[in-house]
């Protein structure tokens, strides 16, 4: 019997709860859904069931209710024959543009709590959507769909028909733009001659300064300018400017020099777009501003951002994430700021369940604070699923 196998029991428990969800809730399916490939991972199943497609919504909904997959994915691409077993026989017709931001790329992610990680990713995500997708690329808001991934990140699906046929090279260009890759410093800074001397008939430049873009300029010019001004303000406001510069990676000696040079007058010159600094300082400003303002995208299987992959499988909106029990919820752009994944994507019930915790936990979920010690505990279903999914607890 499997009764003595805790992981088996836990799996049964998760599956039951997932089944309840799929039975009781209406799942909204993606547009042109008959043209999509669907893929599933079943509870306890090995590997992924791929190349499925469903003509009728009801068939898929029945499948979810009966087979109760742990993970459900759909293709961002539309195909003529979505269920053909070979990729080349599917006949690609186009694909949404997908952006995937996840906390696993964060530096020091392991030192942060789940909440903290998600908060950082959310800010990054908001920047992507507002500044880049709506701003620079000018996408109409009605074409953007934002989702919480159900675990550690956010997805944005761009459904503007104009971009369905972009190939992966073209998508990579968009990624390079958003991540600021290959930004040339001479595009941003221009040398500017401030004075002239003349000897006989010849004029020679006697003073040079570096012209930097102003914050109101479009695209990367304005972005870098705003970034630099932020950094300058940050350094000047900090109690120990030398130290905060060193945190940016500036050497001690350079930092001291820079702090000395950042007089009020100098700062106002920078805001006017004049940055007469040495090459190293200029590089420092450019790189720091770039890091501050660019978006970091998660890498896919080929270590390339998911966005470039035109045949990508992505978690099905409104399904449950198999490792957290959280719902892949759609988020209104205007509500993104206040979105709290551990409150707004909790959909499972709160009946109490007995579980055994492998470690003590201290977290907030669905507006309730849980301070629990290791060992047996009675907790609401949604929390139990979350903890079991993350392998912190099991059914006893």
């Amino acid at each position: 019997m499997t009764d003595f196998n805790p992981s088996q029991k836990s799996l049964e428990f998760l599956k039951n709860k997932f089944q309840d969800y799929y039975k009781k809730n209406k799942i909204e399916l993606p547009d042109r859904f008959g043209r999509r490939e669907l893929a599933f991972v079943l509870f306890g199943g090995k590997g992924m069931i791929r190349h499925s497609s469903f003509n009728k919504k009801k068939d898929l909904l029945d499948f979810l209710k009966e087979r109760v997959p742990q993970h459900v994915y759909y293709s961002s691409a539309y195909y003529q024959t979505p269920d053909a077993p070979k990729m080349q026989d599917k006949n690609w017709m186009g694909a949404e543009l997908i952006f995937d931001l996840d906390s696993d790329h964060l530096q020091n992610a392991d030192k942060m709590s789940y909440d903290e990680q998600l908060e950082i990713v959310k800010n990054e995500f908001e920047k992507l959507v507002r500044e880049f997708l709506l701003g620079d690329f000018g996408f109409n808001e009605k074409y953007l769909e934002l989702y919480f991934s159900g675990a550690r990140g956010y997805h944005c699906h761009v459904k503007d028909p104009a971009i369905f046929d972009l190939d992966s090279n073209e998508r990579r260009e968009i990624v390079d733009y958003i991540t600021g890759r290959d930004l040339i410093d001479s595009y941003i800074f221009h040398e500017h001659i401030t004075g002239r001397k003349h000897y006989g008939d010849h004029y020679f430049p006697s003073g040079k300064s570096l012209k930097m873009p102003t914050p109101d300029q479009t695209g990367w010019k304005g972005r870098i300018s705003r970034g630099i001004i932020d950094i300058v303000d940050e350094i000047r406001k900090s109690d120990d400017p030398n130290k905060s510069l060193q945190e940016y990676g500036v050497k001690k000696k350079d930092a001291e020099k820079l702090v000395m040079e950042l007089s009020d007058e100098r700062v106002s010159r920078i805001k006017d777009g004049l940055l007469d600094q040495s090459k190293t300082i200029r590089k420092f400003f450019l790189n720091s501003a770039l890091r501050k303002t660019a978006v970091t995208l998660s890498a896919g299987e080929t270590d390339e951002p998911v966005t470039c992959d035109i045949k990508r499988l992505i978690r099905l909106p409104f399904s449950l994430h198999g490792k957290t029990g959280l719902k892949v919820v759609k988020i209104d752009i205007d509500k993104l700021k206040d979105f709290d994944p551990l409150r707004d994507s909790v959909v499972l019930g709160d009946d109490l369940v007995k579980i055994k915790l492998n470690q003590s936990i201290d977290m907030k979920m669905k507006n309730e604070i849980f301070n629990l010690n290791e060992g047996e505990q009675e907790i609401p279903t949604y929390l139990a699923v979350f903890l079991i999914g993350r392998k912190i607890a099991h059914i006893c």
Binding site: D136, E170, I174, Y177, I184, Y187, T302
Partner: protein, 343 residues
Amino acid sequence: MRDLSTLAKYPFLNEARQYIKDYGPSVTELLEGLLYERSRTIGIERLDNALKNGDVGNRSLASKSDRMMEIFSYPLARMVAVSVGDTYFNRRYALGEAIHAYRNLPNERPSFLIDVSEELHINAEYVESVGSVKVFFKDYLRNAPTRYKKWKMVNRDIDGGYVNISLRDLTRLILESLRRRIEEELESRKSNKAIEKAFSSDIKRFQNMVNLHKKKMEAAPVGKLSIEKLPPCMKDILAAIQAGENVPHMGRFALVSFLNSLQLSTNEILKIFSNAPDYQEDRTRYQVDHITGASSSTSYKSPGCEKMRTYGICPVDKMDELCREVYHPLTYYSSKWKKEKNK
């Protein structure tokens, strides 16, 4: 209606096509009529020039008849190209036509450039007050040589979905869009029996030139790489590249990362790609450096058999015994070496 000399310089325009329909000869007349001898000669000249110099060439357009002959030579050259029936040849010819237009365009007025853009589905608008052009970012992406850093979108002014570029840059987008359009048209047309008959010796001559070129390329040794030890997947991709077929990104990615793992240098890898008809060294170098990590800190791993299969680039029908034993194309290659040693 535009004047004839404009149509002669840009015979791909819809208006030129219409002119031929309204005032031009029928196909039979064009092929046989004494009057059109000159068009026929120019048509073949276009192809020869494109193949040899990368530009279909300039001819006098002084008289009305000069202009007419030039216009009629264009459909003729295209029909002959279709009958040669070779991808490499079509690409060279399409490029030759596009380069020819590109060289003439800087002398034209902004409104003309915008009209041509529109015909080629480039959404562009001239902003007179600043003398620059706003192009929809997708049309920019599709046609700009973004392999050069200066052309990458990140180094361009973009706002609300439109990239701001100069008129000169617009002609570069036109070049690419035109090249692609002609190439696609040539690939989709069927060869015409009458043409094959009338130009049989020229068609043969072109076919021989193309074959000679391909032979030369095949014979070129590829460094320390042992071609016959390559797994079927890599052989396929390599063959496609050398034949000038359009290899999808994943295929190129798989080959480059594979060769990189075999310690081939960027230059050695470039040599392999240099056989492709539209080979452009700097572009390919850029892509290769990107994959091997020479230009970024990450070098990409060469994909395994499983991944190759999901991308549809493992030729399942060509898999051999060894394929069934390995999980990675690299293992295939190294076991071939080992097997040889043990013999």
